[in-house]
Symmetry: C2
C-alpha cells in the first residue's frame, strides 16, 4: 500500500524520551511509513515564541496522522494564556477538527495488584470513554471582567450546540455497537442547561441505534461509580470537561496513567494519538518514564489512521506480553527504565 | 443554655426514613432543642406547586440550623428546571448565603475491606473537602439560545469573583490550621480563566496563613490522585462543580456514600446539614437506606450551629462503635435496616 505519513510531535518533559521508544517499535515493524517531525508546546515556544508555530500547524494539516508526546512546562506557567504549552494541544484539536477523543481503559493481565482498587474490582474494568474535544467550557468565550462592585471576576462560557452533540453521540453509539452495546451518557442535567441539551440530543440520536442500551448518569455519580464498580461501564460518552476528569480517574483504576493511550479523531482519516498522561516535568530527563502509553498510542494510530488492524494488534499483544512477563517501570513499582521497556516491547513483537 | 431551633427538611425518596433515625438520636440526647418541620423538594412541589415554598424559606431564614434529608424525584425530571426538586437545595444554599460546604471523609475502623480501594490505600484517607457553594457554573447565566446557523445551543456561564474566592479560601485555610496544616487547591487553571483567578486569589490569601502549606492541582490530576493515593490530602478547597464531583468520588473511597455527612455554612451561626448522598428513589420506602450519614450530619449540626462539641463527638463515637461492632446495612453488604441501624446508634450512645 501507499506509505502512511506520520508527523511526530514529541513536545515537552518526558515527551521526547517516550517518543524515541515508539519510534523504535515503529522501526521494528518495518511498515511503509514516512516520518516527519515538528516543534510543539514549551519547546516550540522557546524556539519560536509560539507553542503551535505556523510551520507545525501546516505540517499537521498535511499529514495522515500525528503521534503526540506531551506538552506542559512549569517554566511557562506564567506567560500569557495563549502562549502556554497547553495551547498547542488545544489548538491542534480545534484547528484539525478532532472532536472525538477515544480513551480505552482495561486492566492488563498481571496488573491485578497494581491498581489502587481491589483486584476483583479492577479486573472487571473494560471501558471506553468517548470524550467530546472541540467544545464545552474549553472553547467558549472566556476572560477577566470587572463586576458592578468593581471586583475582578474570571469567567468561561460553557456551551454545546445540537450538531456538536449529535456528531459525538454517533461516534459513541457506533463504538458501543462494536463492543458490549451499552452506552452511558454522563452529564449534569440537574444543574446545567448545556447538559440538558446534551441529554435531549443524545436521546434523539439513540433512535438510530435501537440495538444499543442507553443510560444517563450525573457526573458526580459517575465519578463515584468509577471507583465503586467500574466494571458496570462499557462505553461512556461525555463532554470535554467531564471527560477530562473521568478519563484521568479511570486511568488509575488500571494501575498507572502510564498505560493509557488515546485517539483524537475528526471526520476524515487524520487523527492525533497521544498518551493521556502529561509531560511529567518532575521525572523528565531521568530515563524512567513509562513509554507503554506512547507505544499503545502508536497502535491506535496504525488502527485508526493507518487502517492496519494487524500491526495495531501486534503491538498491543507485545505490550500485554511484556506486562504479563513482569516488566515494570517506576510507576508500577519496578526498576525498568524507559529504553529497557521499549526494548522489551520490540523483543516481544 | 437557650434552646437550639432546628428545622427538619426531610424531602424526597429515602429522606423521611433517614430523618426519622436522626430524630431518634436527637431524642435520646435530650438536648434543649425546638424542632419544626417544612416541606421541600418534590414533596413540596406536589403539595404546593413549588419545590421551595415561601413558607419553607421563611422558616429556614428564621431558624438556627437546618437538618436536610435529600431531594430529587424522577417523576419531576421533566418539569421546568426552576420547579424541579433539586432547585430546593440550590435555592436554600443561595438564599441563605451558605457558601462553604464542608465534606469530611475518613475511613471508619472496621470498614477497611468495604472500600473499593485496597485496604492499605483506603485506611490512609482522612481528608476534608471544602467546596464553594454559591457560585461557579451553578449560578451563572444559563439557558438555550440559537446559534447563527439556526441551531439550539445550551449554555451556562462559569465565573468566580475575587471576594467569592477569598471568603472560601479563608474557610479552607482556617480548617487546615485545625488539622494537618496542608491545603490543596484544585482548579483547571491551564484551561479556565475562572480557575486562573481562583488560583491567583488563593495565593494572595495564603499570605495570611504562613503556617499552612499550600499546593495546587489540576482537577483531572486530583481525580486521579484521589484513587491512587487519597492519603496524601489533608484539606482540599475547590469550586462548586469540581467539589461536587470530587466529594462524591471520595465518598466511595470510604466504603459507602451512606456514611458521608456535610455542613453548609455562611457568615453566621445558621447552617444546613445533609448527607452527601441523594434521595435514592430506587430504594425509597423499603426501610433499607443507611441512616448513618444523616445521623453524622446531625453531629455536624450540633458542633457548628449548636456549639455543642461534646454531643457531636458522642454521636460520632456511637456511629464508629456501631460500625466497629459489625453493624452493616445493604450498602455495606449487610442486612440491617434503616430503623435497626438507628436503634443501634441510640443503644451505643
Ligand atoms: C493539557 C490539557 C489542556 C489537556 C486537557 O485538559 O484536555 C489534558 O489534560 C488532556 O486531557 O489531554
Ligand atoms: C442535587 C444537586 C443539585 C447537588 C449538587 O450538584 O450540588 C448534589 O449533587 C450535591 O452535591 O449536593
Amino acid at each position: 500500500g501507499e506509505a502512511l505519513n506520520i508527523l511526530l510531535l514529541a513536545g515537552d518533559g518526558i515527551g521526547p524520551e517516550i517518543m524515541a521508544e515508539a519510534e523504535k517499535v515503529l522501526g521494528a515493524l518495518a511498515l511503509p511509513v514516512t516520518l516527519d517531525r515538528a516543534l510543539v508546546g514549551g519547546a516550540a515556544y522557546e524556539a519560536t515564541g509560539h507553542p503551535l508555530p505556523p510551520e507545525t500547524l501546516a505540517k499537521a494539516k498535511a499529514t495522515d496522522a500525528l503521534l503526540f508526546g506531551a506538552v506542559g512546562d512549569p517554566r511557562f506557567d506564567n506567560v500569557e494564556r495563549h502562549l502556554r504549552p497547553e495551547q498547542a494541544i488545544l489548538g491542534l484539536r480545534a484547528e484539525l477538527g478532532l472532536f472525538a477523543n477515544l480513551r480505552p481503559a482495561k486492566l492488563f493481565a498481571g496488573l491485578e495488584d497494581s491498581s489502587a482498587l481491589r483486584p476483583e474490582v479492577a479486573s472487571a474494568i473494560d471501558l471506553l470513554i468517548v470524550r467530546e474535544l472541540n467544545g464545552d467550557v474549553y472553547f467558549g468565550e472566556k476572560g477577566t471582567r470587572t463586576t458592578p462592585g468593581g471586583e475582578r471576576e474570571g469567567f468561561d462560557v460553557m456551551s454545546y450546540s445540537e450538531s456538536e452533540v449529535r456528531r459525538i453521540a454517533h461516534v459513541a453509539f457506533q463504538a458501543a455497537q462494536g463492543r458490549a452495546k451499552r452506552l452511558c451518557s454522563v452529564d449534569k442535567a440537574n444543574v446545567l442547561e448545556t447538559s440538558q441539551l446534551w441529554r435531549d440530543v443524545v436521546i434523539e440520536v439513540a433512535k438510530d441505534y435501537p440495538d444499543v442500551a442507553l443510560t444517563h448518569m450525573y457526573v458526580d455519580n459517575a465519578a463515584m461509580q468509577l471507583v465503586r464498580n467500574p466494571g458496570q461501564f462499557d462505553v461512556v460518552v461525555t463532554g470535554n470537561l467531564f471527560g477530562d476528569i473521568l478519563s484521568d480517574q479511570a486511568s488509575m483504576c488500571v494501575g498507572s496513567i502510564g498505560l493509557l493511550a488515546s485517539a483524537s479523531l475528526g471526520e476524515g482519516r487524520l487523527g492525533l494519538y497521544e498518551p493521556i498522561h502529561g509531560s511529567a516535568p518532575d521525572i523528565a530527563g531521568k530515563g524512567i518514564a513509562n513509554p507503554l502509553a506512547m507505544i499503545l498510542s502508536l497502535a491506535m494510530l496504525l488502527r485508526h489512521s493507518g487502517g492496519d488492524e494487524a500491526s495495531a494488534a501486534r503491538i498491543e499483544a507485545a505490550v500485554a506480553k511484556v506486562l504479563a512477563d513482569g516488566c515494570r517501570g517506576a510507576d508500577l513499582g519496578g526498576t525498568m527504565g524507559t529504553a529497557a521497556l521499549g526494548d522489551a516491547v520490540v523483543e516481544a513483537l
